[in-house]
């Protein structure tokens, strides 16, 4: 048949793509894969490779002599402290976010429809429209000595309680804005939307008939919650906690602005490659969140969080 010859070139091209779906797929995927491979993975691996380079303390020069010293240095008490501090904050922030987010997500998924649901979506996302640095700065003012938070505490007559909490080692500090508690509050505030939305999505997928079946079989509301709702929302909680956990691990702005002195991993990377110019040590620190998140994911997977996906 000579039909093909009479087709204009664009039509012939379309037909070719239709006949060869692999070619079509390749055209679709090659550009993003090049971007992802070269720009993202390539630079990340280059950075990590530099972690094996040697940094000379006297000349401040980096030489490509391969060594494991930088990674070993992570376990020196001063560096290990930074890792423990960051990790414990990430864990506590993830747990607290899940506890705060769950009721909101539950209400959104099960009780709102149409306009009310749209309102909640916007209300949850709106804080993300403002720059995160602006929000962190705003919190320093809210929490500062003589700030709004303190004013409320005073007028509620809770000054002694605040003083007691600020006195607890590992939690407190001289004021709210320079305490671990303050830093924790800002983290929970900033990452909360990342926890609410995945939990809400997982609850949204829960068929109402499952809850009715549970009640029908004699389960009281608390039992239905513990046996059906909570287990089936675990994938959402896990997805949300992956956000809150990794975002806290990598953050270097909030720890600088709020809370007591002392580096977080992100801040340490920033300081090592900037002010100090020790790129190999910065690269070694970069590996920390990557390893921690990998460990975290494998724990979450072992708990069966992805089984219901």
């Amino acid at each position: 048949m000579s039909l093909a010859i009479s087709h204009p070139p664009m039509r012939r091209f379309s037909n070719l793509l239709y006949r060869k779906p692999d070619l079509y797929l390749a055209m679709l995927l090659v550009p993003p894969l090049i971007w992802f491979g070269a720009i993202y993975l390539g630079s990340l691996l280059t950075l990590l490779w530099q972690g094996f380079y040697t940094f000379d303390d006297f000349t401040m020069a980096v030489t490509p002599d391969l060594t494991l010293a930088n990674f070993a240095a992570l376990f020196q008490p001063s560096n290990f402290d930074i890792i423990v501090r960051t990790l414990s904050m990430a864990i506590v922030v993830s747990i607290a976010s899940a506890i705060v987010a769950f009721p909101i997500a539950y209400y959104m998924a099960r009780y709102t429809t149409g306009k009310t649901k749209a309102f909640f979506y916007i209300a949850v996302m709106m804080p993300m429209w403002a720059s995160y640095i602006v929000k962190a700065y705003a919190w320093t003012l809210l929490l500062a000595k003589g700030g709004v938070a303190q004013w409320f505490v005073q007028h509620l007559g809770l000054e002694p309680v605040l003083q007691f909490v600020l006195g607890v080692p590992g939690v407190g500090g001289s004021t709210l804005s320079t305490s671990h508690l303050g830093r924790f509050m800002v983290f929970v505030y900033i990452w909360l939307p990342f926890m609410i939305l995945p939990i809400q999505a997982s609850l949204e997928r829960l068929p109402p008939s499952l809850l009715q079946a549970s009640a029908d079989l004699g389960a009281k509301p608390r039992q239905t919650f513990m046996q059906v709702i909570l287990p089936l929302s675990v994938p959402g909680i896990a997805a949300g906690s992956i956000f809150t956990f990794s975002l806290t691990l990598g953050d270097f702005i909030v720890p600088q602005l709020v809370g007591p002195p002392g580096y977080f991993v992100g801040g340490m990377v920033y300081a090592q490659q900037g002010a100090i110019g020790n790129m190999p040590m910065a690269a070694a620190f970069t590996l920390v969140p990557i390893v921690l998140i990998a460990v975290y994911l494998s724990i979450v997977k072992r708990l069966g969080a992805f089984d219901a996906l």
Binding site: S209, Q212, A213, L217, V228, A308
Partner: protein, 344 residues
Amino acid sequence: MTLAVQFTHVSRQFGEVKAVDRVSIDIQDGEFFSMLGPSGSGKTTCLRLIAGFEQPSAGSIRIHGEEAAGLPPYQRDVNTVFQDYALFPHMNVRDNVAYGLKVKGVGKTERLNRAEEALAMVALGGYGERKPVQLSGGQRQRVALARALVNRPRVLLLDEPLGALDLKLREQMQSELKKLQRQLGITFIFVTHDQTEALSMSDRVAVFNKGRIEQVDTPRNLYMKPATAFVAEFVGTSNVIRGELAQRLSGSTQPFSIRPEHVRFAEGPLGAGEVEISGLLHDIQYQGSATRYELKLENGQALNISQANNQWLDISSGHQVGQSITARWAREAMTPLTDSAGEV
């Protein structure tokens, strides 16, 4: 005889819509009772009212003599088999079945034994370890049944449980359900929109239309003596004759129903107690075991005639579209109808 479920003037309104409108039913203990009707007729809402997922806007519901209005589902001695089965996806089959016993605090050994027994009863012994996603539709249906029956309810509610199954499996499940009900002796309340299913399984059937009950009767009476035009046309097919034509054929203006299979072609002289009417043959549909003829009467109404193909030698029907035909039936075959749903 004791009543399993009793509805007295029960209504359920959703905003302006009356899903259930002043319904009264008495369901006997140990009976297989079906609620039949088109979608939106209120039958499923009635079932949900018994289960406790809905509360009545007015009226009283008694389950085994005890007022149920206001009681949550978990305080009622009824269990439900859901249309979508509603199996818990995160539990295996055994845990699904044992769930009702677990939340009621039955010890582990006993509940696992009883779950295994219930699974054996629905021919799924040995499937306990599987997850619901690993089962076929028919198997899930059986798990849902076992999960409800393991609690030994006095009333079992079934919400179109066979709707998602294919025809062969559905017929098999119908006879199994009926057998199970006889064996257990508990009340089954079965919701369906499939009239064949309702007729073949039930002791009694309630026909729903627009939130009201048109008729409650045995399958045989429902088919042979439909009370209203709606029942006549929803349960099987029927010719409903009204007005002047009804007057001429039955001597009364009250509408009547005549089943297509009770109509035959005129042969010989008109017998005593018979009526006849002629029309043009408009359509012939060969349906295997029967042939359906559609006659256009002089007033434009269609009259359906169904003739069983029980003469194996009779290859051709001997009738042609466009032919003038006289149809005949016995006076007793005509069932007078009341026009609307019976007022309470």
